[in-house]
């Protein structure tokens, strides 16, 4: 246990923690929105993220023909390339997410089957996607071309503010505000909230359940796809197992913040990013992944509603 690193590098760790946290936030959206509507843990969301990350890289290498050895670009070219990568990732993730719902969950909704069945089906989807990619890539990692030069913009209290991490934070905030507005103000958003609150009554009131659910999965997928794009921008590498590595942490973030609502995902994600960063500094990086699990267990034991959660009465027996 070594607190000296934490105090010495506090600003740096905080900034990195927030950047990592935003990525968690965006992935957590995929979990939290689906759970809110279907009371189902969308296990396969982690693979939606993984596929989005590959899509991001493939857009830059296959469509724009950059390679891992390319030099970075600037200006207008940079902007439209990155936008294309972002869109590519979001579209792929969104589509995959909707497809997953149709293939793995839709049938099981109509049955009176217990949640165990849907959960196992979800796990099956997750495995199939991850393994398919593993076989296709021979477990090798895929590197991304560096298009955005990672210039250090400023140094604040000892923390280097890099342009890529700053961009992640800014875009993530914009995305979250947009999403929040959509869910709260738009018609479809109202439908989503209605179904969250009461599935059966919503159906009786004539809300098109399938449309609402598909939209929920789509939005979750879009958010996750954006997360994948930001992840690649910062880390520039992905592989088949990245879904599992990050997915559980993101789910923990969703639960920590209060599953079922967007602000919860935000709070939980940032909190988890910071906690992971600080605990790695104090205990050593080899304990990082345990941090998420331990927090998950503690939260579910003592405060299953999370920071912002309403009482999701199903959480405890």
């Amino acid at each position: 246990m070594d607190f000296s690193v934490l105090t010495d590098q506090f600003a740096s760790l905080t900034f990195d923690g927030i950047a990592l946290g935003f990525i968690y936030v965006l992935i957590a959206l995929g979990y939290t929105m689906v759970y809110g509507v279907l009371r189902l843990i969308n296990f396969a969301n982690s693979e939606v993220f993984m596929l989005g990350s590959f899509a991001t890289i493939l857009v830059s290498t296959k469509i724009f023909n950059y390679t891992i050895e390319s030099d970075s670009i600037t200006g207008f070219k940079l902007v439209y390339t990155m936008l294309a990568m972002l869109l590519g990732s979001m579209i792929v993730s969104g589509l995959v997410s909707v497809l997953i719902e149709i293939v793995a969950y839709r049938r099981l909704r109509s049955r009176t089957s217990n949640r165990l069945t849907s959960l196992i089906s979800a796990i099956g989807v997750s495995i199939v996607l991850a393994e398919s990619v593993r076989i296709a890539t021979s477990s090798a990692p895929m590197g991304a071309p560096r298009l955005l030069d990672k210039a250090i913009l400023a140094t604040v209290w000892g923390a280097d503010i890099r342009i890529d991490t700053l961009l992640v934070i800014i875009f993530a905030i914009m995305l979250l505000i947009t999403l929040d507005l959509f869910v709260n103000k738009s018609r479809l958003g109202k439908g989503i909230r209605a179904v969250s609150m009461d599935y059966d009554t919503s159906r009786l009131m004539g809300i098109n359940i399938n449309k609402v659910i598909s939209t929920t999965f789509l939005i979750g997928g879009l958010g996750t796809g954006a997360a994948a794009f930001f992840y690649i921008t910062v880390y520039e590498m992905t592989r088949f197992s990245i879904g599992f590595e990050l997915g559980l942490a993101a789910f923990t973030a969703a639960v920590l913040g209060g599953i079922g609502n967007i602000r919860g995902a935000f709070a939980g994600g940032i909190a988890l990013g910071l906690i992971e960063m600080y605990s790695s500094a104090v205990f050593g990086t080899q304990w990082k992944s345990i941090t998420a699990f331990v927090i998950l267990v503690l939260v579910l034991l003592f405060k299953p509603n999370g920071i912002f959660g309403e009482s999701l009465q199903q959480a405890r027996v």
Partner: protein, 342 residues
């Protein structure tokens, strides 16, 4: 198309037979199973590893684990995604005690089971008040915590694992070493038989009925006076004991264990066996585990895609035939003490 009920057909035959026929049949099956290694000379043989070794691991070990997980998932309806943790606890107990004390494996076995049960109780106490989905995620986390802790603890070998774990000593004149693989297989067969008997007994008595009611509707069960917490704990601890036993045996045969052998994938594999075979049905689970453990060894080209196929199995089974190959009975037999039959 898929609603042919193999289980009911088999049960129908069984009901019609008299006691004589049943006993002869059971003995024949048991003898046949013990003699399975003879199949090595036929096309059942596995190309890359000796058939008799396959019978022990992966088939035997996974059948044991599937039976244990079946009690937790199949009979009681609790989705445990971290089942590999108990397997790891048993294996590491064998590893540590086997290399540092003079106890032999048969003496270590009850200790390993006890430790596994303890972990099951600890995990159970923490999570049993949670609902299905949360239970699943937390148990998954628990499995990972065990693995990563083992990885980070150099006192128990860390990344290097534990080597030179001893084989079991010569028992009843049977040697347990690399030349006598078939004895390991028989040992695990005996364990499976004991398990089947134990589970059958539990199933027809109160624990089994309690599990069934919890699986069907926990709230109703609670209202009807079933102490759901106690019986869920029973299921958990029983499952953990079984996992631990499998772990001890595995460690004493492989003679080397490391944290990489106890990953989330193993938990998923065992879950696939249970789901595929028929949740809640002992014979279904045995059949499912045997098939799914054997086939990748026999057909090498699917060996690398094994996990992929299991994922597909999970999706297909859940969507088309969620009851598995051999579904559980519609109503469990209600047994009185007098009428307990096997």
């Amino acid at each position: 198309m898929l609603n042919f009920n193999l289980r009911d057909w088999g049960a129908g035959l069984w009901e019609k037979a008299n006691k004589w026929q049943r006993n002869v049949f059971a003995l024949a099956v048991i003898a046949g199973v013990f003699a399975l290694p003879l199949l090595e000379k036929t096309f059942f043989n596995t190309p890359s590893t000796p058939f008799v070794m396959i019978l022990f691991y992966p088939i035997g070990i996974y059948v044991v684990m599937a039976l244990g997980l079946n009690v937790v998932v199949g009979k009681s309806g609790m989705l445990d995604l971290g089942y590999v943790a108990f397997y790891a606890v048993g294996a590491y107990t064998a590893g540590i005690l086997g290399t540092r004390t003079s106890l032999n494996i048969w003496e270590i076995l009850p200790i390993g089971i006890a430790f596994a049960m303890l972990s099951g109780a600890i995990l159970g106490a923490s999570v049993l008040r949670l609902r299905g989905d949360y239970l699943a995620i937390v148990t998954l986390g628990f499995g990972e915590i065990i693995r990563i802790t083992a990885l980070n603890s150099s006192a128990i070998g860390g990344a290097n694992g534990i080597t030179n774990i001893p084989n079991p000593p010569t028992t009843f004149g049977l040697k347990f070493d690399l030349d006598n693989q078939v004895h390991f297989y028989w040992a695990i067969l005996i364990m499976i038989i004991i398990l089947i008997v134990a589970i059958r007994i539990l199933s027809v008595r109160r624990p089994g009925r309690a599990w069934e009611s919890i699986r069907q509707d926990e709230d109703v069960a609670e209202l009807m006076g079933v102490n759901t917490y106690k019986y869920k704990m029973w299921a958990f601890v029983f499952g953990a004991a079984v996992g631990g036993a499998a772990g001890v045996l595995f460690a004493s045969k492989a003679m080397f264990i490391s944290p990489n052998m106890f990953t989330y994938n193993t938990s998923i594999l065992v879950l696939a066996f249970v789901v595929f075979g028929g949740m809640g049905n002992i014979w279904g689970v045995i059949l499912g585990a045997t098939l799914l453990a054997y086939l990748p060894e026999r057909i090498r080209f699917i060996s690398d895609a094994r996990l992929l196929i299991f994922g597909l199995v999970l999706i297909i089974m859940m969507n088309l035939r969620p009851d598995g190959l051999l579904p559980r009975k519609k109503r469990e037999k209600i047994g009185t003490k007098k009428a307990v039959k096997l």
